[in-house]
Symmetry: C2
């Protein structure tokens, strides 16, 4: 198949920042792209060859969009999977496959899948609704604290809550859910795996999520993780196993806990480029976005090693600001060594909205960490005129 400067068409469901960063590489390779997104000014409106405005959840919209392209992928999991299944049955290549997506979209099924495939994960129980879960707590099946997760529709921390006592249930939707043991972890880690249809498979180095000591919010994604080699090796092996169990094609981001005993437990996966891999644009020989393209197009996978240490800081809207975005002090951070801001192109900021990220690259990881902290303390995403 000839992809470069040819009539070949790649379809992408979702036109947000992940799609936008993928378009950097479709442009680099001159691969034609069609993008579907509900928003008229999605970040992918510029940079795609054809932009279609429409719902990602509507069967006909997704089906008709998909019929126009040769290979179809997505940058977001909340899409109409039935339409993908029909497209696949009719010969359109859909990567990652709708089957993987079904297994992943429901967190209960995802957990069952791990158990079935001998992949270590935190103990859990499935419940049809909140009442059943409360009943189980009453009967002593669960003791506080534990984690509640809605099995469907969760995203970026939505649909997940720590249940510390009976009052924690207040406000939770009465939907299918799981109760999960709370893991006292040393580190939250992630490994991105790439796999192509011919079965070539590669893992990126293990990254570490460093949390704010009080706010319990990820502040930095650090590559490589500051863990010992045995643990890193174990994490990469488990991530490989997960990808192979799914027969996954494309990228699979595997989020994991490193327990106090240096066990690795798989938390959850995302079948697409992932926030934990953004550092790779500047730090890796092959960025995760280029790698995703290579994987879904059945091209040889690129080198996943790093050229330098990389640290990523998310740029989220500051509390108390809503409106036209202003990146305060961005010039100050641009003056620092190895600092690259990525601005996603959303016009309106809102508290905690993901507006961009900043990558800090340095030969020396300690120096990168120091600069990352300065960046974090300097730039603010606020609103202005």
């Amino acid at each position: 198949m000839n992809y470069f400067s040819s009539g070949f068409k790649l379809g992408i469901l979702g036109g947000g920042q992940l799609g936008k960063m993928m378009l950097t590489d479709t442009r680099k390779f001159d691969i034609q792209t069609y993008v579907l997104d509900p928003s008229a000014d999605a970040p992918c409106k510029i940079g795609s060859n054809v932009f279609v405005q429409g719902s990602l959840m509507d069967f006909d919209t997704v089906y008709n969009f998909g019929k126009q392209v040769d290979v179809l992928t997505f940058e977001i999991e909340h899409v109409n999977v039935a339409a993908l299944e029909k497209l696949e049955a009719e010969g359109i290549k859909v990567y990652p496959s709708p089957k993987t997506l079904r297994q992943i979209q429901n967190k209960g099924n995802q957990k069952d899948f791990y158990i079935k495939n001998n992949i270590p994960t935190a103990p859990y129980k499935r419940f049809e609704n909140l009442t059943e879960l409360k009943e189980a707590v009453k009967n002593g099946v669960f003791t506080y604290p534990f984690i509640w997760k809605s099995t469907e529709g969760g995203y970026d921390g939505n649909g997940v809550k720590v249940i510390r006592n009976a009052e924690s249930f207040n406000g939770l939707p009465d939907v299918q859910c799981i109760g999960e043991a709370m893991i006292a972890f040393k580190n939250e880690l992630a490994v991105i795996v790439a796999r192509n249809p011919k079965g070539e498979i590669k893992t990126y180095p293990v990254v570490e999520m460093e949390f704010h000591p009080e706010a319990n919010q990820v502040e930095y994604v650090i590559c490589p993780a500051r863990i010992d080699n045995t643990v890193a090796h174990k994490a990469r092996t488990i991530a490989l196993n997960v990808s192979e169990a799914f027969n996954h094609v494309g990228l699979l981001a595997v989020e994991m806990f490193q327990t106090q005993d240096d066990e690795i437990l798989v938390n959850e996966v995302a079948p697409r480029p992932h926030n934990s891999g953004h550092y790779s644009i500047e730090a890796s020989y092959t960025s995760q976005f280029e790698q995703h393209l290579r994987a879904i197009l059945n091209l040889p996978l690129g080198n996943t090693d790093s050229k330098a240490a990389g640290i990523m800081v998310n740029l989220v809207g500051a509390e108390g600001y809503t409106g036209n975005v202003v990146y305060e002090n961005i010039e100050t951070i641009l003056a620092k060594d190895g600092v690259t801001p990525h601005i996603y192109g959303k016009k309106e900021t809102r508290p905690f909205r993901k507006m961009g990220h900043v990558t800090i690259v340095n030969e020396d990881i300690a120096e990168a960490r120091r600069i990352a902290q300065e960046v974090k303390n300097t730039i603010r995403v606020i609103s202005g005129q």
Copy 2:
């Protein structure tokens, strides 16, 4: 000034591959762009916010285009400079300045400028036409071989010829020209300098152009140049002096000869991102395209150091092929370590047309050079269906 996700507008004259690679960074920063190019399917048609089809040499077209933007730059020197001068006089920021452009566009003036500013350059003489030059040869002012250069309109080797004997004059246009001593150089080197309006200035490492031993064609651009530190330091210092002499804003690529005695002579300059800096996209902390934006927007300049050794191979159309382009064996080169093809997006190949480039990045420059040779021997730009 607020550039990021704002109403600010950057204008770019020329929508070819240099503009296309610049758009990678305007998208990364979410800076609005307007691009003017005569071709309806210029590489910049995708990725710019507003694409205008029109002549770069027509006064009104350039003037009316420029009136819409806040800062105007260019990716090609062949533009209507009078229009730029009028725009500048009316308060539009034009970087690099029309004044620099005038000094550079005429190669006779460029050479005079070097002499006036004590910048070492090969000996030359100016002539109003070919007849004057022939007369000078007859009178013994020049002895064969020497270099003929038309003072205006040259590009990519056009407008330059080695004059070995009287027959070499055949077919040359009867235009203003210079005769220049032929330098028996050890190496052809280049240094990219970035300078912003507040006078901050940085040089990239010296790169080396490695020539094919017989064909006398640049085969590889290698960073860092395999020369000793004293020569590298001298080359960077001279490049700095050239940029400061011009009061240049933006990027200035300075092409130089290293003579047999390790003297450095400036050959010519280009006031824009340059082929000799393409390696920087993968190998440098700050790519030349991002650096150009930082410079013309008066932002702090980024680190010009390299993360790894970088080698660039141009992809030009193979002889004997004209028509719809096919990149033969591109999958084979993608399987090699640290190899990134850049496909410019031109549909039609022609013999020697610049269709793309490939960058090879490696910790070890000798290994990069070995892979670069494999790449060069493997990929072919031909035509197909």
